[in-house]
């Protein structure tokens, strides 16, 4: 099945811009307001195996996912504006960040200081150590 079709049938959401400290139960409370949650898969740093700021939320029904996109996307969780989007479906391995340092790619290159996501971006931090 091609990707577009998977997305159209999906009941799984990708959730981004989480704090590294946001817990499964916080995610469950918010997303549970849209429908019964089947499972939550926390996104993990590939090296440290600790949460690295994203997750997948899988519902039992598509309708619940639609409600989340309409009413949770771009509102706050753990005081951060989070992003949600349809996901083609969780597969083993996709729970790991794909950045070189182990976290998400976006945390490699960003220049801002974000205390909820490890402070400065990884390259910036590395540079600071070198200098």
């Amino acid at each position: 099945m091609n990707n577009k079709k998977l997305l159209n049938l999906s009941t799984t959401l990708y959730v981004g811009n989480l704090s590294f400290y946001t817990t499964e139960s916080q995610i469950h409370e918010l997303f549970g307001r849209c429908g019964d949650v089947k499972r939550i898969i926390m996104g993990l740093d590939k090296v440290r195996k600790t949460p690295c700021g994203f997750c997948f939320v899988e519902y039992y029904t598509r309708e619940a996912g639609e409600y989340a996109l309409r009413y949770v996307n771009q509102t706050r969780l753990d005081d951060r504006i989070i992003r949600t989007d349809w996901d083609a479906g969780f597969k083993e391995g996709r729970q790991y960040g794909r950045g070189k340092s182990g976290g998400q790619v976006r945390d490699e290159y960003r220049n801002d200081y974000d205390p909820g996501r490890g402070g400065f971006g990884k390259l910036v931090t590395a540079k600071r150590f070198r200098d």
Partner: protein, 788 residues
């Protein structure tokens, strides 16, 4: 029309077709632009010209399209009636102008409306039917419809109230409501042109509303049990009072934008069409009429700033504005940004001038009226949260303060608020706070510290804090609350493990089980063998072993839900063997509760999983909830979260089986039909398979019936115990505990009224008999009256 196209087609088709094709292409092209022109009528962004000149020019443009594009025009205008009700008077004026210029078109439009109305009534699309009736009524003002024929339509609707006795009241209620909702627009015309007949109509309506309706259900739908400060009027009573007031004011509808009056000169000589006779379709048993409602009032004129005027409770404007706001919510709730825009802007097309109406207050009030509506809100609860966020973002100097004011008022009046409404408020308020760093003036609520856990204001705050805990973490609550409120903070949501100290009876077993579960190769079979080998293993009483097993499993899986689920999944077979009966299932739930009693959220999540995995069945959940062990927690919200979630799963299962069965039945019938034409069915579907599916449907329904019977029976027992005990002790039965418990019983009836209604006669025979305590029986009777 390109020449190339002509040549491509010309071999295949006859000579007439290129012309038809050209017309079809033009039609396809014209529909979107016509739609755009017509839908955007009155949108301020469009042009600075006055609405009257917009109408005039649009009518002049469209009248030229009638010849070639009549069907499209009719279709688009019919859609405006249903989907743009906030622009009623703009579209009636437009139709009126078109009718004045081309009365054949006017006739066709009226025909289309009549057809749509009949269809809506037949298919129970009552909201649409109401909008069509309203539109037809306003067309009288545009001289497109004769007022005498409209009066005949009203008469035939009101005649439903004197149909044979066995019709449900909700049927005649709706037909009267449809007439009343249209009256504000056409009352003046009617009272002037048909004084006597109109008077007679009004008197019949009055007799019905005041005299013959039963309102036994009314207390069940009230948000507050008190009428102080605002009476909780039954909706038809309220609308009737508003109409009577309008009548006393000579039907003058001031301030509302009604462009047709400006065009009186053009419209006066139009051909007025006569509505044909429209007979309401007879009642059928499967008919679903809208349920009655209670009018929700939060604000009065003293709550709004002095320079703004809030229409009074019995002013027809209050009804008309609220009606419009609800239409907008119902049309746009799916798209929160559009919804916000529409809500904030509608008054520009509704009022003649920028009236000093506190529209933001009315928006907030209307949204709470939907959120707190009984039996259930029209839309998912979180929609209201999200729309409030958007409104607050768009009007940051107004909406947030009004929301705070509303919250204060709702808190003030908490003592008489229905429990289900309080619960919804807890959900809303905790979610709302979580988006604003939980900032709130808690110290202005010292009354929350009075009384005990079941005292309304304290209960509200405690349950809000429990939800805030789920959104954040334990330590955070101490940061956001003043010191004197720390006593209301729920316990830290940690699990309990009884077997990690040597003096505990199951300590040794727990140690062995822990080691076993942590073995990589351990699986269900392996574990089962291990358990059977234990010296004190007794297959007829697995309780002692089960308790330790569950505790160890949950202890090891305590890190996250995923860990717990993985553990439950791994030992699924073992657990099912240890828990063979409903009694054991109930026992297991109490074991789990021992571990996770400090985290109601985890309890909800685990019970959900166990029910879905069919390790625990729905009746066991009900029995566990009503058990003596859980009676200290009986009024805590999380228990009802669990029960309602369980009931919902059972209901969803029935629906799914039913849908699948109907689908299979349809496919089999289609296959049979095609076999008549000597076609081989490639479906492997057999009559046998469909019958098996039917059995599954019956099984699911039987489970559903059984669950409701158990729940109602347990309620009856629990409540009767309390009433009897109070009577013999000479105490007042009406304690907070009683209030919460009886309202939960009512909640089950109301929330699931569609399903429970099926089993009414069984309930009447077995549980809610004449021997039942009258306090309990009253709740049952209110429920029966709802659809009577």
């Amino acid at each position: 029309m390109s020449r190339r196209r002509y040549h491509e087609r010309s071999d295949e088709e006859d000579e007439a077709s290129p012309k038809r094709r050209r017309q079809e292409n033009e039609k396809e092209g014209i529909e979107p632009s016509l739609k755009s022109l017509i839908y955007k009528l009155g949108d301020r962004k469009q042009s600075k010209a006055s609405i009257e000149s917009n109408l005039e020019s649009l009518a002049n443009v469209l009248v030229n399209d009638i010849a070639h594009h009549k069907p499209i025009l009719l279709k688009i205008l019919s859609q405006c009636v249903i989907f743009l009700p906030e622009k009623l008077t703009l579209y009636t004026t437009l139709v009126g102008l078109l009718n004045a210029k081309n009365h054949h078109f006017g006739a066709d439009f009226v025909d289309t409306m009549v057809r749509n109305l009949k269809e809506s009534l037949k298919t129970y699309a009552f909201d649409r039917a109401k909008l069509i009736v309203r539109f037809l009524a306003d067309l009288v003002n545009c001289r497109a419809i004769s007022s005498s024929s409209l009066l005949k339509l009203f008469d035939s609707f009101v005649e439903v109230t004197i149909e044979e006795a066995n019709i449900p009241q909700v049927r005649s209620d709706w037909y009267v409501f449809a007439v009343l909702a249209a009256l504000p627009w056409v009352g003046k015309e009617m009272s002037e042109k048909h004084t006597e007949k109109f008077d007679k109509l009004l008197r019949s309506i009055g007799d019905y509303i005041k005299g013959r309706r039963q309102k036994v259900y009314h207390p069940a739908l009230r948000v507050w049990s008190s009428d102080d400060p605002h009476p909780q009027e039954e909706y038809l009573d309220c609308l009737w009072a508003q109409i009577k007031r309008l009548e006393a004011d000579k039907w003058i509808l001031s301030r509302i934008l009604r462009p047709y009056f400006t065009f009186e000169g053009q419209l006066i000589n139009s051909l007025q069409h006569t509505l044909p006779q429209i007979i309401p379709p007879s009642h059928r048993d499967d008919a679903e009429y809208p349920l009655p409602r209670v009018v929700f009032r939060l604000f009065d004129y003293t709550d709004v700033p002095e320079d703004l005027v809030l229409p009074g409770a019995h002013a027809i404007e209050r009804f008309l504005i609220e009606e419009q706001l609800e239409y907008l919510l119902d049309q746009y709730y799916i798209e929160r940004k559009d919804c916000t825009t529409q809500l904030l802007q509608f008054q520009h097309n509704f009022f003649e001038r920028d009236e000093k109406i506190p529209i933001h207050y009315m928006i907030v009030e209307t949204m709470f009226s939907q959120l707190l509506r009984l039996p259930t809100p029209p839309h998912i609860e979180i929609a209201y949260s999200a729309i409030f966020f958007e409104l607050s973002k768009t009007e940051p100097d107004s909406i947030p303060q009004i929301l705070a004011q509303a919250t204060e008022l709702l808190y003030d009046r908490m003592d008489t608020m229905n429990l289900v409404c309080m619960e919804r408020l807890c959900h809303w308020f905790s979610h709302h706070l979580s988006n604003y760093q939980f900032t709130w003036s808690w110290d202005e609520w010292p009354t929350a510290l009075e009384g005990d856990e079941d005292t309304p204001k304290q209960k509200f705050v405690r349950e809000v804090l429990k939800r805030c805990l789920r959104f954040s973490y334990h330590g955070r609550l101490f940061e956001i609350l003043p010191d004197n409120f720390h006593v209301l903070v729920p316990p830290k949501p940690e699990h309990v493990f009884d077997f990690d100290n040597e003096s505990a009876a199951g300590y040794e077993l727990a140690k062995k089980l822990t080691k076993k579960m942590q073995e990589r190769e351990s699986d269900s079979n392996d574990m089962m063998l291990f358990l059977r080998d234990l010296p004190n293993f007794d297959p007829s009483d697995t309780k002692p072993i089960l308790e330790v097993f569950i505790q160890v499993l949950l202890h090891l899986g305590s890190k996250s839900y995923s860990h717990s689920f993985a553990a439950l999944n791994k030992y699924h077979t073992v657990i099912k063997q240890l828990v063979p009966s409903e009694e054991m299932q109930t026992y297991m739930l109490s074991c789990i509760y021992k571990v996770w009693k400090n985290s109601p959220q985890t309890m909800c999540v685990l019970v959900d999983k166990l029910v879905r995995a069919q390790i625990v069945e729905a009746p066991s959940v009900a029995n566990w909830m009503f058990s003596t062990e859980m009676s200290p927690e009986f009024t805590r919200f999380f228990l009802w979260e669990i029960l309602n979630s369980t009931i919902k799963k059972v209901n969803d299962n029935v629906d799914k089986q039913q849908r699948d069965y109907e689908d299979m039945r349809d496919r089999l019938d289609a296959t049979k039909r095609s076999m008549d034409f000597d076609q081989k069915p490639d479906d492997a579907l057999t009559e046998d398979m469909v019958e098996k599916k039917e059995e599954l449907v019956e099984e699911a329904q039987s489970l559903q019936k059984n669950l409701f019977l158990i729940v109602f029976q347990r309620f009856n027992m629990t409540l009767t115990d309390h009433l009897v005990r109070c009577e013999s002790a000479g105490e007042d039965y009406n304690t907070c505990w009683y209030k919460w418990s009886i309202e939960r019983l009512q909640q089950i009836f109301l929330t699931y009224h569609e399903q429970v209604f099926k089993y009414m006669s069984t309930l009447e025979m077995l549980i809610f008999t004449t021997d039942t305590d009258p306090h309990i029986l009253e709740v049952f009777q209110r429920f029966c009256a709802l659809r009577a």
